[in-house]
């Protein structure tokens, strides 16, 4: 199987899987098997591509050319490889989780759920493996459209309202800001190809660079930079597997991935620093980090707290990109991986709590840790990784981000970073602490262990262990991030 065709296979297998899922809709067990098999297959394909990938060989394929000079092109490079690996591995894990979740919770319309899930992952891989900005934009929009039914899954008024907010902000930013940014880039340079060192240098008057960069950053609504962040908490009406994979991993990471790609391959780090395009944007990212953390602290609903935490963490990555230094980019790229594994653990735990005990507010979860020790331990591990303490993977990304700030002399931002880490502790640790050592509000005594379904536990254990393993062996992800950021 030629390398190029593997790329196509990686992106389109999930779509084939979605079709099979719909065909098998009357046989739930068969249908779930299809999901697992497809997820495993995609994982295998992506890992194979990774094995064959190296930064000097070019694996690319064009499949159509809708507009003159703009092909639908798939190409592998380090950053995309990193994202693809994260997405495909975590899809497999989330599928396992979702089966247990959906059955325990007796959710309706499960076929629609699994099918749209598969399509959404296909779109995510399309983004990861996009060879030019046009292809990336195509899959970016497809991702918004395909995740809409997932967010609105419950079908009730609340879900529809949340989904409407989700869609209006994401489509509003992408059509209103991102599309013009892409068009302006095309008009100036005549191409939308990704190139080392960017395509804008020398073609764009540096005075306008800041404005164009801002159009990109705010246009990429999936990166949830304030003030275009409201879609994330609104999307929490979705079932937890959706929140876990898509809004902790796929959708949001697609956003920051796009930010990184645009920074490295469209603008080029040299152009950004020389034109000062990032001067004032850095403060938006910094403000988002801080404000989101503060808002997270006052949320009682666990999923909402995690949502704001995600917004805050995403801006870490955006900040890494905006710093436009090797260290910053390295930290940002690495954080894609670390945050993904950690956050998904937290969401898995939140979902497990929801379906086992029907509790969604933190104030109700006192003492619950004694009844659900595995869940709360996983939550603890995920929290510690996000906070950035060793021996958890999250430490590395925070380290390099911090180094990036030191490198550029951004002392205020470093302070923001450290302060927000403290805030992370404040809003994340109380959950497991109170869970293990606290007392239930209604006086229930938790003596028996009544845990979540086994598949949910398996998923949680895997991702939390991964967070630990990634500290000691960040291997492939570190190498890829190093490549992409040019810090080698």
């Amino acid at each position: 199987m030629s390398d190029q065709h593997l790329l196509l296979l990686a992106v389109f297998t999930p779509f084939a899987g979605a079709l099979a899922i719909v065909l098998f809709r009357h046989w739930p067990n068969l249908r779930e098997t299809v999901t697992l098999v497809t997820a495993a297959a995609v994982c295998l394909i992506v890992v194979t591509v990774f094995m064959r990938f190296s930064s000097d060989t070019l694996i690319a394929i064009d499949i159509a050319e809708p507009l003159p000079g703009l092909a639908i092109r798939f190409e592998v490079e380090s950053l995309g490889m990193l994202f693809a690996l994260v997405a495909s591995v975590l899809w497999l894990v989330t599928s396992i989780y979702a089966i247990g979740y959906m059955r325990k919770h007796d959710e309706k319309n499960q076929t629609r759920f699994y099918a749209m899930f598969a399509i959404a992952i296909g779109c995510t891989l399309g983004i990861a493996l996009a060879g030019n900005l046009f292809t990336l934009f195509l899959w970016y929009e497809m991702l918004t459209i395909s995740t809409y039914p997932l967010v609105a899954h419950a079908g009730n008024k609340k879900a529809r309202r949340g989904a409407r907010t989700y869609l209006s902000i994401l489509l509003g930013t992408s059509i209103g800001l991102l599309l013009p940014a892409i068009l302006i880039t095309y008009t100036i340079t005549g191409s939308l190809d990704f190139q080392e060192g960017g395509i804008l240098a020398g073609k764009l008057d540096p005075a306008w660079a800041g404005l164009l960069y801002a159009l990109f950053i705010f246009g990429i609504g999936k990166a949830a930079v304030m003030p275009f962040h409201r879609w994330l908490p609104a999307a929490m009406v979705a079932p937890t597997p959706v929140s876990a994979l898509l809004h902790a991993v796929a959708v949001v990471k697609a956003g920051v991935f796009t930010v990184l790609k645009v920074t490295i391959y469209i603008f080029g780090t040299d152009f950004i620093t020389s034109s000062g395009a990032n001067d004032w944007l850095i403060w938006f990212a910094g403000a988002t980090i801080l404000l989101a953390s503060l808002i997270a602290m006052v949320q009682d609903n666990l999923k909402l707290r995690l949502a704001y935490s995600t917004i805050s963490q995403l801006s870490y990555i955006v900040l890494g990109a905006l710093l436009a230094t090797n260290m910053g980019l390295l930290g940002g790229a690495l954080h894609i991986t670390m945050h993904a594994f950690a956050k998904i653990t937290l969401f898995f735990a939140a979902g497990a709590i929801l379906i086992t005990t029907d509790k969604s507010n933190i104030s109700d979860m006192g003492g619950l840790g004694r009844a659900m020790p595995v869940t709360f331990t996983a939550f603890l591990i995920g929290s510690l990784s996000i906070i950035g303490l060793p021996p958890f993977g999250g430490m590395w990304s925070k380290w390099y981000l911090g180094m990036g700030m030191v490198e550029t002399g951004q002392w205020l931002l470093l302070a923001v970073l450290l302060f927000s880490s403290l805030l992370n502790i404040a809003y994340l640790l109380p959950v497991p602490v109170r869970g293990f050592f606290g007392k239930a509000k209604d006086g229930t005594e938790y003596v028996q262990i009544k845990e979540a379904p086994i598949s949910c536990l398996l998923a949680m254990v895997f991702t939390s262990l991964a967070s630990i393993v990634l500290f000691f062996y960040p291997g492939p992800f570190y190498e890829l991030a190093l490549d992409a950021s040019g810090a080698r």
Partner: protein, 494 residues
């Protein structure tokens, strides 16, 4: 022999077929006969397009009388493209029409219905083919008159008043066009488009020429439903029979766009446009049309009305393209003529399918129907995405070119209007999606089944065409670029 007379056959075949159809006994036979004729025309138009695709032109003298005294059919890529669109939509509407006509038109009137359909087709094809301005007027009136009747055949009595209003406004428009033609004829003494182009050049500053131009533009604008002359369209599209909504929405106004292009750029030339600053009028009215029509669409309570206002907005986009008066702008307009025919055709087909099953297109009667008619809903969804301009669909290609044309001229305000129009279309399309799929079922609705296959297949052909032409744009963009070149439009220079 056929090839030599090809361009005339496209008009003559349906013209002869129309009275034949009227004489056929009511029932299936008029439908079958019309189906054969429309498919024949479609095949002929494909043949014609292949001949002129490389930029060559066909020149055909009617009756052997040499132009400029005789009527000449001068076919270039643009003519052939419009003819392709018209005959293609007709061909795909016919299989669809079988069921809806059976349900909506009384049995004894079916032969007359199909005869009128063919007459409308004659008119539209004639407009696309002809190279003589008066001939164009005649064909325009043929198509308009038959469409008035076709609209009036809708089931509700409001179809009659809608047709009447369209008749009054359409006739005024056609008469304005006639006045314009008369004034131009008075100045040049010729009616042949190519000849007019030559003879008008030295006298472009004459007031009579300017007046004639104004009358023509206003007359065509009425037919085009350009804001603010669009008032006839919503009622006409809403109350006409389903098959006619499909056919007219996808062809009639597009052909009017073609007339505008031909008159403004071939007969009068681009420089005239710039001298008279007409492009500003196009830009302003187009911009207003996009905003006003999109906002009007958002507040409607009826599916077909939303689609009608959406059509007005999309036509305003095409006029914007003309206002740019550059290669990119006109390319965008021509490409959008094709793409919009696909989008709106599919959307109106789906609306017609819903009306076929439920009997109404008002939201209060069709809430939640998408869950019972999933394939129809999926068709609305994909065509709706194309309308919004999501990449991967035909609508995105049009929007891309419009935006490029605007950015090329640094017309930031117009670029903003185009994007705003897209965002507004997201609002009204999503209103449709939510109402049809997520809403509670309307309490008055008995359970319905999916649309019949004869309606589903044409619908999905158009839907898939939307996706296909969003990925493979060789035909649409290729023809548009050839057509624009031949129109004599140049790229924008500072």
């Amino acid at each position: 022999m056929i090839e030599q007379n090809l361009c005339l056959l496209l008009v003559v075949i349906p013209l002869i077929a129309a009275p034949v159809t009227a004489m056929l006994p009511a029932g299936r036979s008029p439908w079958l006969f019309t189906l054969v004729i429309t498919w024949l025309c479609f095949a002929l138009s494909i043949w014609q397009l292949t001949i002129v695709l490389d930029g060559s032109t066909i020149s055909y003298e009617l009756g052997g009388w040499a132009p400029p005294w005789g009527i000449e059919y001068h076919i270039d890529a643009l003519n052939a493209f419009v003819a392709l669109i018209v005959s293609g939509i007709a061909a795909i509407t016919l299989p669809y029409a079988l069921r809806t006509v059976e349900k909506e038109i009384q049995l004894q009137e079916t032969s007359l219905f199909y005869a009128l359909f063919l007459l409308c087709l004659v008119g539209l094809l004639g407009i696309a083919q002809t190279g003589d301005v008066f001939n164009l007027f005649v064909f325009l009136e043929i198509s308009s008159l038959s469409s008035y009747v076709l609209i009036a055949m809708g089931k509700q009595r409001r179809a009659l008043t809608a047709a009447y209003q369209y008749l009054i406004m359409g006739s005024i428009g056609a008469t304005f066009l006639l006045i314009g033609i008369g004034l131009i004829y008075a100045e040049t003494g010729t009616l042949n488009m190519q000849d007019l182009h030559q003879r008008l050049q030295p006298i472009l500053d004459h007031r009579t020429v300017h007046t004639g131009f104004v009358f023509m533009v206003v007359g065509i604008a009425l037919k085009l439903a350009l804001f603010p002359l669009h008032l006839w369209l919503p009622n006409a599209y809403k109350y006409s029979p389903s098959a006619i909504s499909v056919f007219l929405s996808a062809t009639a106004t597009k052909v009017a766009v073609y007339i505008m292009l031909r008159m403004v750029f071939t007969v009068f030339s681009t420089s005239f446009l710039k001298i008279t600053h007409t492009e500003f009028i196009f830009l302003i009215l187009g911009a207003f049309g996009v905003i006003v029509a999109s906002m009007a669409a958002i507040v409607q309570h009826d599916l077909k009305r939303i689609l009608a206002y959406s059509s007005i907005a999309q036509i305003s986009y095409m006029v914007l393209g003309m206002g740019f008066a550059s290669t990119l702008g006109i390319t965008a307009t021509v490409v959008h003529v094709f793409n919009h025919a696909l989008m709106k055709g599919a959307l109106f087909m789906a609306a017609g399918a819903i009306v076929y099953r439920v009997g109404s297109s008002r939201f209060e009667n069709i809430y939640g129907i998408g869950r019972q008619m999933p394939w129809t809903f999926a068709a609305i969804f994909v065509s709706g995405l194309s309308l919004i301009g999501i990449p991967g669909t035909a609508g995105f290609i049009s929007k891309w070119y419009f935006m490029l044309a605007a950015l090329e001229q640094q017309a930031w305000l117009i670029a903003f209007v185009i994007l705003l129009g897209s965002l507004l279309s997201v609002v009204y399309m999503w209103k449709i999606f939510e109402a049809l799929f997520f809403h509670r079922l309307a309490c008055t609705a008995p359970p319905v089944t999916e649309a019949p296959l004869s309606m589903m297949l044409p619908m999905w052909t158009l839907v898939l065409a939307n996706i296909y032409f969003g990925i493979n744009t060789e035909l649409t963009v290729g023809v548009a670029e050839t057509a624009v070149r031949l129109l004599g439009v140049t790229a924008y220079h500072e």
